[in-house]
Symmetry: D2
Subunit: 328 residues, 4 copies
């Protein structure tokens, strides 16, 4: 490999997600495999500014592949948005002999990396880590599969009590502006209705659908709602609306919240993290910069960070039709 | 056995809890074992009023021991609070040849059973089924152990993200007026602070405790709050209060909600349900009525329903001290 | 849709796998959605021969999406391998008015379907259901993702005790002649070494690898072995071999066995099952026959059953390299 | 508190079990709470002999309450069985200023502690940590509840496939010479038959029971067997015996093995560990020695180590009757 990289820094930034530790482990061990050094940077860009680094060898990352969260911690850094902050960060990297960066995070983190690269010509490569699966250039982000399973397991529990009492539950899930979690976990959990930002269902159609569901003999119902849904009412307002219009239902609300970001990663997320971590380091060693490694059509591929940031990962519209059919 | 009971009815009433199906299975099979018949009564007292019954044989309850919820469904019945309602219920029981009742539920359900017994001299026995563990006369109610594990598993996930971001989480758990879930799951989850109805900690002491915790080097914290806690503020107001007084913390809220009522029961709840179900039927066959079967000091014991209703299951105050020590 | 199909039969055949129930549900509800009828055929081809059918409507498949196993049961049928057996089966299908078949199973099941189609010109379509992921024409079979997670969760537990005692564990996993489960779950579980049928590592290299692992500071090790591995020794012989040659290790064996076939399916398997079930029915309605529906490069695709049977799903050789690197 | 203890050592010994880390955490933090120091001793008595110690403060045990295994590792030490070995151990303890010991383990570990105390008048207190629940003086040992749930979850998965194929499974579980795990997990998993060392069922009765079960309409069966069962045949011989005598069954075997020792502890085990850890330290500070802390009849109690070792924790015979009834 042609470029002269001797020490790679790795950081996690933005919201944490399951699989980040598995990716850190892969980055660290790939460095060891290629006989280069690896430094962990704590608390994302903020730790870069503060020089909060720690040398990581292959034994430093024992027994973390199965841990949620990130051993490197994460933070949002306002200071890194200023040229002064980034200058400090660059100074610390230089002093520590770090030649290149692996950035594990989402769009915000990648934007930071691009700006940093533009200013200092510093090699950076991104690994998509977020449960929201909203990053262009990869079919799956790290943590998304784990979050789907967390949501489905929780809704399985809620369904126990929903069907024991013939209730209607509104369950709000994460996803920022994207409906990936809601749509896939909704199908997986057998939800009667799924509300996502990509489709404005409208209140009347929701009501009709619930009535049809009731008429078909269903005694209980689960409606999954993405946090960014555009139906124009939050989940508690929705409950009130249905309370008024379908008094025959006993309506309850559950907001799943931050538990969706944690937990031991699934096998899928661990393997994906391993593959992306290996590739990220090897791309840096080949001289690649400003790309994200992702998985598309079953293969590990590179996408320019610029595209990853500008683009949007589309939901599969066919899944909406599948959901309509299987919830009949 | 001296009394002439030929057909026992079994119902679940009030909030459902994991282990109810295991108890139904045990009741049904104990009837079969003693060569008497068993009828399932759907939707608690409401189904009794409507005559919504179904004969249950040993094969009817195959593969339900591991299912959350209740196959007999549950409901709250206003009509059963009226003498007319109860008269209808009695008529249906007589017509169906049901001689005695096993009532799986909480205090409200037991009260209904006592009134019914007083009016019609109808043999009833209770099995404590609620996740809240708030029933006098038993150290453990059905579903409580499962709920504790559900809460602990969720907080384990939340801790992943809390410690990745150095955050403070307020996690609200169920328990009605009792702090059993909060206290035990709080210790199990390693919570830094636990707020329960049985103790009014006061806002200042909470703040002091959080500051001490921070000073001791803890970077993230979990505070578990029972829904009936008396600190005088709901969990969102608490967040605001801490936001104002400890701006160094990034505070988040999570309300666990109904998922705590569902899920496959733990081994403990399944075994307890089996023991209580067997004993409940055998007590009815011996002529016992108006008692609850429970477990105290490792033994299955009887408590008059009247006492079960009036009494209150106390939390173990020593556990509060244990929590203070191990969260240091 | 042009063909005149009025009633579709669905069966599960061969080894059961998680997601089969979700696929049955999707098939049944897609039939309802398109206003055709659906019959469940019990115990695979054996039930077809015996006319063991049951009409299934959309409410018949409530609350099964999250259940392992198959509500239609499965069996291997010797009689179906005879022309007389198949003749009986065809007679029963005709009498029941079944016009087309959805076959959920593996290669053996598909072969049966092809033969049946050849003899009676009966429309059949296959859905790949097996944990082994060894079917050509699909990147993922139903149940494979669930099995991976089951294996990884169990090895996580084994690692607790392995690292508490500085032990070496040989863990045998399923997969018949394919190393998919071993390779992916091995990477996911952080195994030090993975033995698969596709690669003959040889005993010496295994020993060298374990010694290198020990020398690198690893105190405990997990070796994952596919049941079809060709190293020429079964897992107990392997233990003996290592006992003799590396007496410094305390070696234990764990054979995971049938638990890998059960359990509530993951979200991935539930969504995949839903997509394949919808597509299978819609293809039959379009007049398609003798194809398998699968997923390749993120899309639902058709593969002639003949190819599915003859071909072999290859492991991703790059994963072997990833495993070597991340286990350094 | 009257005795002059300034530094307590804590070790885990024998087979590891879930909850040991929670107990270590409680011991360490209780020391901090009472302003005394705590030293972790690695690899049990072997580490004591080698002086393999590490100072542990309250922050050293962050985030371990939910981890299986033991951060202090465990080992069996032959050298500690010799007076010379124990002399070395005592010398290391003295040099490190350790005044008293908390021993987390089983009977073998307690025996070691008693001998050590007899020779050097060194204060020791035991915490029962083993999944087998075979220790006299406590209704529950650390890890037992977790192991029960692990077993039940696995058998739930096996039942999926058993009932899909109408199979009979023999499932072998741990427990050394005690049937606690088999009996309780067997009831929890809904096993048709349970074979434990405390009862010699005999082969004929097993066969009769299986035939009765089949006759009653059960299509599949689970038989749980304790590893120390006295039926005189190992589990594979049992399979052969049933194969010959009940050819109508398709019999399979599953040996659960070491996974039973690992995994994140249940809430019950975590709370128990916390209570026992607090009490163990406070007893040492009060001058108590040669006792085990355990839980009996819902209360934390002391039992002389001598009695704990000599006695045997009896199974609850009533549970055998309950099992017979609910598996009808």
């Amino acid at each position: 490999m042609s470029v002269n990289i001797k020490r790679i820094g790795v950081l996690t930034s933005g919201g944490d997600s399951p699989g980040m530790n598995a990716a850190i482990r892969a980055v660290v061990r790939t460095c060891a495999y290629h006989n280069i050094e690896c430094m962990g940077i704590y608390r994302g860009y903020q730790g870069m500014i503060e020089g909060d680094f720690m040398e990581l060898g292959p034994r430093s990352v024992n027994n973390i592949i199965n841990k949620g969260g990130t051993i490197l911690k994460s933070a949002r850094s306002k200071e890194f948005m200023t040229p002064e902050g980034r200058k400090k960060a660059h100074k610390h990297l230089s002093e520590a002999g770090i030649d290149a960066l692996v950035i594990i995070g989402g769009n915000g983190s990648f934007t930071g990396g691009l700006v940093f690269n533009a200013e200092f010509n510093f090699p950076v490569i991104g690994i998509p880590g977020t449960i929201d699966n909203d990053i262009y250039g990869t079919s799956f982000t790290l943590g998304y599969d784990t979050a789907l399973n967390t949501v489905v397991e929780v809704i399985d529990k809620i369904r126990d009590t929903a069907s024991s009492h013939n209730r209607l539950f509104f369950v709000e899930v994460m996803g920022r502006d994207a409906g990936h979690i809601a749509l896939n976990a909704g199908i997986g959990a057998g939800a009667e209705e799924i509300l996502i930002p990509e489709e404005d269902m409208g209140l009347e159609r929701l009501l009709e659908s619930l009535k049809r569901s009731k008429a078909s003999g269903k005694l209980s119902s689960i409606v999954v709602i993405a946090e960014g849904d555009r139906i124009g009412k939050n989940v508690f307002e929705l409950k009130e609306y249905v309370d008024e219009n379908m008094p025959e239902y006993d309506v309850r609300v559950s907001i799943l919240g931050h538990m969706q970001r944690g937990g031991s990663p699934t096998c899928f997320d661990r393997v994906l993290a391993s593959r992306l971590g290996v590739r990220a380091v090897e791309e840096l060693l080949k001289g690649t910069s400003n790309y994200m490694v992702g998985v598309l059509k079953d293969e590990i591929v590179l996408t320019p960070l610029e595209n990853a940031i500008k683009g949007k990962s589309q939901i599969d519209k066919e899944l909406i039709r599948v959901s309509d059919i299987v919830s009949i």
